[in-house]
């Protein structure tokens, strides 16, 4: 078995592809730099991430693939699913080895799998756009905690910068402990040290803007009034609004 070690970055992965073609040996497994190798390794190679090599691979992809394929690959990378790097590796190899375009061949297992995972990540991105709930703080920043299954927050940020261009906001991924702060000009990646500011997604009441409570109350009242008693359908409700998102939804508190 041939294994490659790399630093688990996207550039590293692209460099690994470069090295594989350069050495003409293709790994059966991709491991982190210090990960313990499985038994029966005949050959190993440690990839040294090199942006020049990685950008050459990316340029090659730009020549051969449609934009949608490349965004699919980055979505799969952000899924953080175990083995997603090997999936991307196999996909890129198939694309590079084929003389004709194969991106639309969904009868191929690897290609279909990449598409399906990209779709799942995209769904998570859409759910962020749907279910983010801002709470206004005393210093006029709109704050929203999230905890998506996949690391889809970077994909949703452009939507929020366009939509809420005239207000300061923070969207914070509590699961991965990082977030984005928009200061009316730029979006900055931030990490908060004090996670106790918002236990269970609710900002400390002393830090809220004076009107915030009443608007939350109104939204909850509105949400409750909207339901039609005669049509109550808990199964459909949970299907459309899965329980894992309730934690941060104002109307479900």
């Amino acid at each position: 078995m041939i294994v490659f070690h790399y630093d688990k970055t996207f550039e590293g992965l692209l460099t690994a592809i470069f090295d594989a073609y350069n050495r003409n040996t293709f790994p059966a497994k991709l491991l982190a730099t210090d990960e313990i190798e499985p038994l029966f390794v005949e050959e190993n190679h440690t990839v040294i991430t090199d942006t020049e090599k990685s950008s050459r691979v990316w340029k090659g992809l730009e020549k051969r693939t449609m934009p949608v394929t490349r965004s699919m690959l980055s979505y799969v990378w952000l899924s953080e699913i175990q083995g997603c790097d090997e999936m991307i590796f196999r996909y890129i190899r198939k694309v590079l080895d084929s003389k004709t375009s194969i991106e639309m061949n969904f009868a191929d297992e690897d290609l279909l799998q990449v598409r399906n995972i990209a779709q799942k990540v995209n769904r998570e991105r859409l759910r962020l756009i749907q279910f983010v709930r801002f709470q206004k703080t005393a210093d006029n920043i709109f704050f929203a905690p999230v905890s998506p299954d996949y690391n889809a927050l970077p994909l949703a940020i452009s939507h929020f910068t366009d939509r809420f261009a005239e207000q300061k906001w923070i969207i914070y991924d509590t699961k991965r402990n990082y977030g984005y702060f928009y200061n009316l000009k730029d979006v900055i990646e931030i990490t908060l040290n004090d996670m106790n500011l918002f236990p269970e997604g609710k900002i400390n009441e002393a830090l809220l803007a004076p009107n915030e409570k009443i608007f939350q109350k109104m939204w909850k009242a509105y949400f409750k009034s909207m339901a039609i008693k005669e049509r109550i359908n808990p199964k459909l409700h949970r299907q459309n609004l899965p329980r894992k998102y309730w934690k941060y939804l104002t109307e479900k508190q």
């Binding site: 809420f164 009242a221 909207m226 409700h237």
Partner: protein, 422 residues
């Protein structure tokens, strides 16, 4: 914002909730400097109520006072309910504050009719004008057009709203007269024509100059109540089909009748709203809009009502066994769409994938085709089509595909039961 506004919000949301539409699609608008928000183009649902319906817009009435006395409506003047009226400022502030917290995509403004249609409409237009001009609100606005109002007011509304709608409510005029003696179909179709006319003129003007403001960019929609009167599905779908053939008509909604005024004996006494029928009508609606079906193929004089047990596409397939089996690797896109178990997305995937290799049933399953249904209607590589509807019979396939009744376990014929004497 005080408790008083909260009370108004509850009353007026309660009154507005029976309107089905909550779409926020059809317009794309980037944010502008100094303005609030944008419009995504594809609808975004921000929440879902306990009955599973999407909450996209702040669906609210300006007032629930009404001079009319329509039997199906909760806000009829003879009903003893709490009444309230929003001021323009209250509603504008509420919309913007909700929008800033990502609760909603925009506003869906409706109203009861006070003193006369023009007076009401004018006040509604004031709200959306204030939002768009003073606050430069860039989100989605859907406004109801009041039946019987003047063309000028419809025109004003259209400059600020993304979508306008007028509800037909009852599909035939005879029954409308029965339940709402003060209304007629003309008062509904008139504003619809105004909107349509405005849109057509606007398209012409925009050809000359692209700086002309868009008029109702997301088109119009309407709604029909199902099950309050004795119309057949044939009559309902023919009406929808007629409406869809008008330019600018984007959606017809169906609302299963909920007996809000059960004391009125002109209305049928229902234990439950006809939810299954409503669902079948939506399925038929989808066939009209996305599956290239003609309305006569779904319902006609011979089959005036939709089959409640199976969906309309399967129902059509079983009536036309001669059309099947469809060869997955050869059939045209529009023929693939006719196969039960294949939707728009999977049909498209089939078309692009089969260029590379012949597809077999395993591929189809992975692509996402519902083989449980589709297997009786297709042939592909190794699936020679032994069990297809044309080889067996429609009745047989139907019996296989009927949903199993829950709670009634099929007796296991191979296992003998043991009965011990007392």
């Amino acid at each position: 914002m005080k408790e008083e506004v909260l009370a108004k919000l509850q009353i007026l949301a309660e009154s507005a909730k029976y309107d089905v539409s909550c779409a926020s699609s059809g317009t794309t608008r980037k944010s502008i400097a100094g303005g609030i928000g944008n419009t995504a183009g594809w609808g975004i649902c921000h929440s879902f109520t306990e009955d599973g319906r999407c909450v996209s817009l702040l669906k609210i009435m300006l007032t629930n006072y009404c001079i009319y006395d329509c039997a199906y409506c909760i806000n009829r003047r003879t009903n003893d309910i709490r009444r309230a009226t929003f001021s323009v400022d209250e509603l504008v502030e509420l919309t913007i504050e909700f929008y800033r917290r990502n609760y909603i995509e925009g506003l869906f403004l409706s109203s009861g009719v006070i003193s006369n249609p023009d007076y009401t409409m004018e006040r509604m237009v004031r709200v959306i004008k204030e939002l768009r001009t003073t606050h430069r609100f860039n989100g989605y606005i859907h406004m109801k057009s009041i039946p019987g109002c003047s063309q000028q007011l419809v025109h004003d509304a259209g400059l600020y709203a993304d979508r306008l709608s007028v509800n037909i409510e009852i599909p035939t005029e005879k029954n409308l007269k029965l339940l709402a003696p003060e209304k007629n179909h003309e008062s509904v179709f008139k504003p619809m024509q105004f909107i349509q006319q405005g849109m057509l003129e606007n398209t012409e003007e925009r050809k000359k100059s692209r700086y002309v403001k868009r008029f109702v960019p997301a088109g119009q929609s309407t709604q029909m109540i199902v099950g309050a009167t004795d119309e057949s599905d044939n009559q309902i779908l023919k009406t929808s089909d007629f409406l869809y053939n008008q330019p600018g008509m984007k959606r017809v909604y169906y609302s299963g009748f909920i007996p809000v005024n059960s004391y009125d004996n002109r209305l049928p006494a229902l234990k439950q709203p006809p939810l299954v029928r409503e669902n079948r009508l939506y399925q038929a609606d989808w066939l009209l809009r996305f599956y290239d079906f003609k309305v006569d193929e779904i319902v006609n004089d011979k089959h005036p009502n939709l089959d409640l047990e199976i969906d309309p596409k399967l129902s059509w397939a079983l009536r036309h066994p001669e059309f099947f089996p469809v060869d997955i690797n050869k059939a045209e896109y529009r023929d693939l769409l006719r196969v039960p178990g294949i939707g728009v997305k999977s049909a498209k995937l089939i078309v692009v994938s089969r260029k590379h290799a012949r597809l077999n049933s395993r591929d189809l399953k992975k692509i996402g085709i519902v083989m449980k249904k589709a297997q009786y209607f297709i042939t592909c590589n190794e699936l020679a089509g032994l069990n297809t509807v044309s080889d067996t019979s429609p009745e047989y396939v139907r019996s296989l595909l009927l949903p199993k009744k829950k709670g009634m376990k099929q007796p296991d014929l191979q296992q003998m039961t043991l009965i011990f004497p007392e």
